[in-house]
């Protein structure tokens, strides 16, 4: 394997022409879905149904069906919430932060990653809503004038969460839609079906690829990226405040915000790689989502994995260094107590296995990559489990110590959230261009004027 890192690899491989790029990306939309598609859809749909049934039963009989009980009042519900919000972060990172850093390689994966952000935040949003027990009263979370003349508590991290997650969802959706407008116009102009044309026209808003519009469009993209960047950092910071602002040993740490953000990017990238490996294969997008892109993402996974590992170590150090006995107890208990199994799954999946990515060969090998990223997904889920459950299960009084065991309903709802996520992903691959057509065209070879052509000579 001989890769020259001294030169930037082209963002689009295989010297595709503009028309070929468009053809490749639009193909899944023009062809009828095949059998495999329906098989995949039925699997994810079944998972979704399992979740829906468990959820309906939980609504009917109440949250007693779940494993949560004193003192472990937060368990799968919050674990899943944090997990899914974290998954979402990769999308915004790729679409906004890498945009500001002018990383051309982001174009091939940005659309997909943004879609995953939106779907992941949808999955995440379910959990805080249902963990209230009576989700039909969740409207109380919003500050609206009401007959109780009460307002929400603006100093509570749980309320900040409401604002952070809903803003994050809205902004991601808008950002995504803005990116889609030119593609809708392109699809509108190439389709021959009347129904499709009506739909695409509606969503393209009448986009004309006008340069007078492109100018504002690019500006808005820049502004939105500028906002999305601090936003994405703020969201997981605020999620970490849910824990860090409390005074519970194991939660009450200042390292939480950066640690959560790094973990979010880590798990999000792992999820993006997991899905993209399949997508590029199934839809023949190997030239647009190239091995170089995957390798770059694996590097990010390696880097953020090390940050997460550093945070694990630092938590222990501070527990010892602070001299707070309760804190020391919590951490020793985490690693060697009744939940040691969860702790060591977390450490091995998040810190040990990603070290394989130091080797170039492994970074560029699809099977190795698949194994590692799936382990990272598992590990990051367990990280949230360890943080939430182990800090709670040893209360201050030994008489209120307990061991949390999830019930079938907990698992059902978790499976359901994966079902929802993958159902949306699968539907997305067949109904919208999974790669931004206009952006990829813009970074194709020869797509931009050479320095001697155009302006200077004319």
């Amino acid at each position: 394997m001989n890769i020259d890192y001294s030169q930037e690899a082209p963002a689009v491989a295989g010297r595709l022409t503009l028309a070929e790029i468009e053809e490749l990306v639009a193909k899944p939309l023009d062809t009828r879905p095949d059998k495999k598609y329906f098989i995949a859809l039925s699997i994810s749909g079944s998972a979704l149904m399992i979740g829906a049934i468990c959820l309906a039963l939980s609504f009917y009989y109440g949250l007693g069906l779940w494993g949560n009980n004193q003192p472990i009042g937060w368990a799968f519900d919050i674990v899943n919430f944090v997990f899914w919000v974290g998954i979402g972060h990769a999308g915004t990172l790729i679409s906004a932060i890498l945009f500001l850093l002018r990383q051309k390689w982001r174009t091939g994966i940005a659309r997909f990653a943004e879609a995953m952000t939106i779907f992941a935040v949808m999955c995440a949003g379910i959990f805080p809503a249902i963990h209230t027990g009576r989700p039909w009263l969740d409207g109380y979370l919003l500050p609206y004038p009401n007959q109780h003349s009460l307002w929400v508590n603006f100093t509570s991290p749980l309320l900040w969460d409401v604002f952070a997650v809903s803003t994050y969802f809205t902004v991601s959706l808008v950002f995504w839609y803005i990116g889609l407008i030119p593609d809708f116009a392109t699809l509108r102009d190439r389709t021959s079906s009347k129904i499709k044309k009506t739909i695409y026209s509606l969503f393209s808003l009448g986009w004309r690829h006008s340069s007078r519009h492109w100018q504002h469009y690019e500006k808005s993209y820049m502004l939105l990226a500028g906002f999305a960047t601090p936003l994405v950092l703020s969201v997981h910071t605020i999620v970490s405040f849910d824990f860090a602002v409390s005074i519970l040993p194991g939660w009450h740490t200042t390292i939480f915000p950066p640690y959560f953000v790094a973990g979010a990017i880590f798990s999000g990238f792992a999820m993006v790689v997991t899905v993209l490996v399949f997508v590029r294969k199934i839809f023949d997008l190997e030239n647009i989502i190239t091995m170089d892109h995957l390798e770059k993402m694996n590097k990010v996974i390696l880097a953020t994995g090390m940050m997460v590992g550093y945070a694990y170590g630092m938590e222990f150090f501070i527990a010892w260094y602070s001299g707070v006995q309760a804190e020391q107890f919590v951490f020793v208990n985490r690693a060697f107590g009744p939940y040691a199994w969860a702790y060591w799954i977390m450490v091995s999946c998040n810190v040990i296995f990603p070290q394989l990515f130091w080797v170039k060969k492994f970074r560029r090998s699809i099977p190795v990559m698949m194994v590692v990223v799936i382990l990272v997904n598992v590990g990051m889920w367990f990280e949230r489990f360890v943080i939430t459950v182990t800090s709670l299960h040893r209360d201050f009084l030994p008489s209120s110590w307990a061991y949390y065991t999830p019930t079938l309903y907990d698992f059902g709802i978790l499976i359901g959230s994966f079902g929802l996520f993958f159902t949306l992903v699968i539907l997305f691959t067949k109904s919208l261009p999974v790669v931004s057509i206009s952006e990829v065209k813009a970074v194709a070879e020869g797509a931009q004027p050479s320095h001697h052509g155009g302006v200077v000579n004319a």
Partner: protein, 389 residues
């Protein structure tokens, strides 16, 4: 003159280098109302077309700042003015705790305003009936060609001249573009109106059903039908059949110490209580307000016994009588709690502290009405001091 229906003339080119030079030449030729259509943004086009920098950023700035301001103001009003509440020992206006929400609202408002502003104000979208739509030109620039349109609305537009000019640029194709026939106003179509009406009906119906019916059905009502015992409801659990328990004998609620001389019209002076409250300004103010509310209707504002009840109730004696002046504090307290002859008890309306403050206030009235020379001297001095302040 050209055809009135003519929108403009377009030309297609096939490389980004070419379109940049075309844009440059078109501006140089003095055309103002022209447009370049490219499948993706081509770098350097703004310069070639001599476009002014986008002003979109101003929308973002204004709405972003508005967002921060509204959020802070709203939190200040709810948390410090409308319903002040101390939470976790934070001040009513806890700025650090308000920052997250301020930030989120800023970002939300700024992005939404930027996008909506751009689409409606800068692009004038949605516009699916633009003459360029559904032309071969549009199809090409949507895919991989680069196009130029010179609009007939331009001052210098002359069909032949423009065509000549375009030809000189070596295009792949030239196309004349015409306005399409105007689509009739679909907003007033009966079918659309019916649809709107149906949506309104369904929305309001569902809302009514959910809020007034559904929320009272099982399982949504389970919170109100619980196994716990409700006060005032019978229960088989206890032998007396009551759901509510009465407190253990001898229980004393806080602030409700029983009064031992209760019911005794001529209490022994040993049974009377000592006044536990000092005469402070605050205490007297409380006493004054309670006296004016509860005692003055019969006893008069200054205790002279000049009732406002116009004979509907026997006038009480003056509180400045020798007898009343000689009362121990505890005796006045006794009258308040117990009543005296035709005067009813005021115990239910006044708590411990309020009763004693009324006693203190009556002492103030008594001293004021029967002031000694030294009192007057003192009051004069106080007045001078207050006036010079």
């Amino acid at each position: 003159m050209h055809n009135k229906n003519l929108f403009g003339v377009s030309a297609l080119f096939d490389s980004p280098d070419k379109i940049i030079s075309v844009a440059k030449k078109t501006t140089d030729a003095g055309y103002k109302k022209f447009d370049i259509n490219t499948p993706y943004p081509v770098h350097g086009m703004e310069k070639a077309m001599k476009l002014k920098p986008s002003k979109l950023g101003f929308i973002t700035l204004v709405f972003g700042l508005t967002g921060s301001f509204i959020a802070l103001l709203f939190m200040y009003w709810t948390m410090s003015v409308d319903y002040p509440m101390i939470i976790s020992g934070k001040p009513f206006f806890a700025l650090p705790a308000f920052i997250p929400v301020t930030f989120e609202v800023t970002v939300l408002l700024a992005t939404l305003a930027t996008v909506i502003g751009m689409i409606t104000f800068f692009f004038k979208f949605p516009e699916n009936h633009h003459p360029l739509h559904d032309t071969n030109y549009m199809k090409q620039v949507s895919k991989d060609k680069f196009g130029l349109v010179i609009e007939s609305a331009d001052k210098n537009f002359e069909l032949e001249k423009v065509k000549e000019f375009l030809q000189s640029l070596n295009p792949i194709a030239i196309e004349e573009i015409y306005y399409q026939e105007k689509a009739n106003n679909s907003l007033l179509e009966p079918r659309f109106l019916t649809l709107l009406f149906a949506i309104a009906l369904v929305t309001s119906g569902t809302t009514y059903f959910v809020l007034n019916k559904l929320l009272y059905m099982t399982p949504f009502d389970w919170m109100s039908t619980q196994l716990k015992l409700n006060p005032q409801k019978p229960s088989d659990l206890f032998s007396d059949g009551y759901g509510m328990r009465s407190p253990v004998k001898g229980t004393v609620a806080q602030g409700f110490m029983p009064y031992l001389a209760k019911g005794n019209p001529n209490p022994n002076s040993n049974d009377l209580l000592e006044n536990p409250y000092l005469i402070t300004e605050e205490n007297i103010k409380l006493g004054k307000s309670k006296y004016l509310t509860f005692c003055s209707p019969c006893h008069g504002n200054f205790g002279d016994g000049d009732s406002r009840l116009r004979g509907q109730f026997p006038n009480p004696p003056s509180l400045h009588s020798k007898r009343a002046q000689d009362f121990k504090d505890g005796m006045i307290y006794h009258v308040i709690v117990n009543g005296q002859n035709s005067m009813p008890s005021y115990a239910p309306y006044l708590n411990h502290e309020e009763r004693w403050s009324v006693v203190n206030y009556i002492r103030v009235l008594q001293r004021a009405k029967n002031a000694s020379e030294s009192d007057i001297q003192f009051a004069k001095k106080e007045n001078v001091k207050n006036a010079s302040n």
